[in-house]
Symmetry: D2
Subunit: 116 residues, 4 copies
Amino acid sequence: MNLHDIQQHLRKFAEERNWDQFHSPKNLSMALAAETAELLELFQWLTEQQSKDIVNSEKDIAEVKKEVADVFIYLVRLADKLNIDIEKEVLAKIALNEKKYPVDLSKDSATKYNKR
Amino acid sequence: MNLHDIQQHLRKFAEERNWDQFHSPKNLSMALAAETAELLELFQWLTEQQSKDIVNSEKDIAEVKKEVADVFIYLVRLADKLNIDIEKEVLAKIALNEKKYPVDLSKDSATKYNKR
Amino acid sequence: MNLHDIQQHLRKFAEERNWDQFHSPKNLSMALAAETAELLELFQWLTEQQSKDIVNSEKDIAEVKKEVADVFIYLVRLADKLNIDIEKEVLAKIALNEKKYPVDLSKDSATKYNKR
Amino acid sequence: MNLHDIQQHLRKFAEERNWDQFHSPKNLSMALAAETAELLELFQWLTEQQSKDIVNSEKDIAEVKKEVADVFIYLVRLADKLNIDIEKEVLAKIALNEKKYPVDLSKDSATKYNKR
């Protein structure tokens, strides 16, 4: 199943439940942010190393997977409601990042382009 | 380009810049949340109707597209660092949602399953 | 009990539990964001009017109050760890906002100063 | 100036600009979350130690202070619109936390009560 199929599936899911009335872009942006915060919550007291080692805890990584799916689902819904072609936009953003962060100037630095 | 290709591309992008040192799951969860908040910011003072009509403003929808791409990119990076197969997890979550929110009980209601 | 007393109390609370080891500014910023997202979650499917009427539901407003307290507590902790005098900074920000948003130019408009 | 005075000041500020029309609890929860995310952004690529050392950078700590003030301001506005007495709720939450996290069981552990 590709991105387009997932989008169609989620659209049908919402239509069958008459949930489009709740799925304004505004509301979906809130749901999306609430879901990403559940990821934050899983990592907030961990060291960076512990956050990498979370893969070793079956229970914890299962929670992460669930939240990653939720974020993805709301993002696809939001894009669908606004007729955004995610793949196209992601490729455009990647191309832009290649220009903004050339290898020689960006190596080892997390400094944002506009602060360089 | 499919999800797997995007993931590979972003991985190479980070490796070339030696950015893996910054991309702990903890840090990526923060970057992801910060990006979703930029979507919130675009919608926070709009009515729900205005949030739908944002497609009519070339400038505003361009900003939304950019943020949607950023969220997607960080989500794919996070999933990659934790060996999460996004597509698999999304399909599992969709199947779970079908069970949790049967059409007859969920119609017209945004009430969460656990509050029903 | 004023802001200073609350700060002292929370400091003692963390010290007694040896929790300062977890309370880096980075971690506290994550906890703060996670708590504000719980507020988002309470409002995400409500209309703006319903969000005002939440005061009429004893159960719902109790949840809002709990989250408001959590956000406040983490904000005070973060400020304490960075020696930030919240009251001073808030008054400085209010003074700045008076200049940035003069009444005659800002009336009825949520447009940010830099977009005007 | 105490919490009550700040609340009154912010209320007058919004009234003079006729901004109450934008300040539904739903919208304020979005603005609050967007502001906390700006704090996240300042810390996302820092190590925990670097996040503590941010006090040594005049420019960076000034940005943190500004965001802390913004979060506080929106939190006070939200509480005001819902007639929430922040101080009362914070004290109630602190008392609850004393019970939930007794010193002997909580020492050195960030594990949430419900996971113990």
